[in-house]
């Protein structure tokens, strides 16, 4: 009558189609942040929302409050929001951030080396990387309706990592 299924056996039921090949490893990098270097390799085991932004890009700015919420909401479940800034001059970033204290990590890539590695085609572009370090989603632009879609995809990967 009743059934008791283990988490492990159920994890395989997830075969949600993703635009990126599930086997593609996210290129590793190491970038400076205000609190020292951060590398993608060090975030293995976490789901990473990797966002590329610049202070002069309007939709990037619009995504900031949302990324802040996202980080706060899913921190306990193992999400790391890593926003890579691509401004060439530090003064613009400071001006933009001002009094804002985002709850997520901001890394600096003024020469766009990591952006190049990830073959960005527009701004903002974000990638969702699963707990195994695989690139699972790429998303270009940021519009209001993207919020829910992105968050659901993130949630899905968080679920994959176990309850």
């Amino acid at each position: 009558m009743s059934r008791w299924l283990s988490v492990v056996s159920l994890a395989f039921i997830f075969v949600g189609s993703t635009p990126l090949m599930a086997a593609e490893q996210a290129p590793d990098f190491s970038l400076p942040t205000d609190a020292g270097e951060v590398s993608l390799a060090s975030l293995k085991g976490k789901v990473v929302y990797l966002d590329f932004w610049a202070s002069w890009c309007t939709p990037c700015r619009k995504s900031f409050p949302w990324m802040d919420e996202l980080q706060k909401r899913h921190k306990d479940k193992g999400l790391v929001v890593l926003a890579v800034n691509l401004d060439k001059k530090a003064e613009y970033i400071d001006k933009f951030l001002g009094a804002m204290k985002p709850s997520f990590t901001i890394a600096f890539d003024p020469e766009g080396k990591v952006a190049d590695m990830y073959k960005l085609r527009g701004m903002p572009t974000s990638y969702i990387i699963d707990h195994k370090g695989h690139l699972r989603e790429r998303h270009l632009g940021f519009r209001e309706k993207d919020k829910q879609v992105l968050e659901e995809k993130i949630q899905k990967l968080l679920n994959e990592g176990g309850l």
Binding site: L86, D87, K88, Y92, L120, M123
Partner: protein
């Protein structure tokens, strides 16, 4: 009529396509300067509108920069 236009057209086409040959793909993160207000094709739309109105009322030529805008009895 096309023959009459020819010198100017050729001149413009030359400028455009010669520079077009030197197009460098600008990476998305290198478009900071292009994003500045002062780099817009029309940095001050109000001034552009007022100027278009003045010159329309004093000269025989009009248009080119864009479409739209109302007429007036000034010409």
């Amino acid at each position: 009529m096309m023959l009459k236009v020819a010198p100017s057209v050729i001149f413009l086409a030359l400028i455009f396509f010669l520079t077009a040959c030197s197009i460098e793909p600008v990476k998305p993160w290198d478009r900071d300067l292009l994003a500045e207000d002062k780099m817009q094709l029309v940095p001050d739309a109000l001034e552009e509108t007022l100027d278009a109105h003045i010159y329309f009322s004093k000269e025989s030529s009009f248009g080119g920069a864009g479409i739209g805008g109302g007429g007036c009895g000034c010409n």
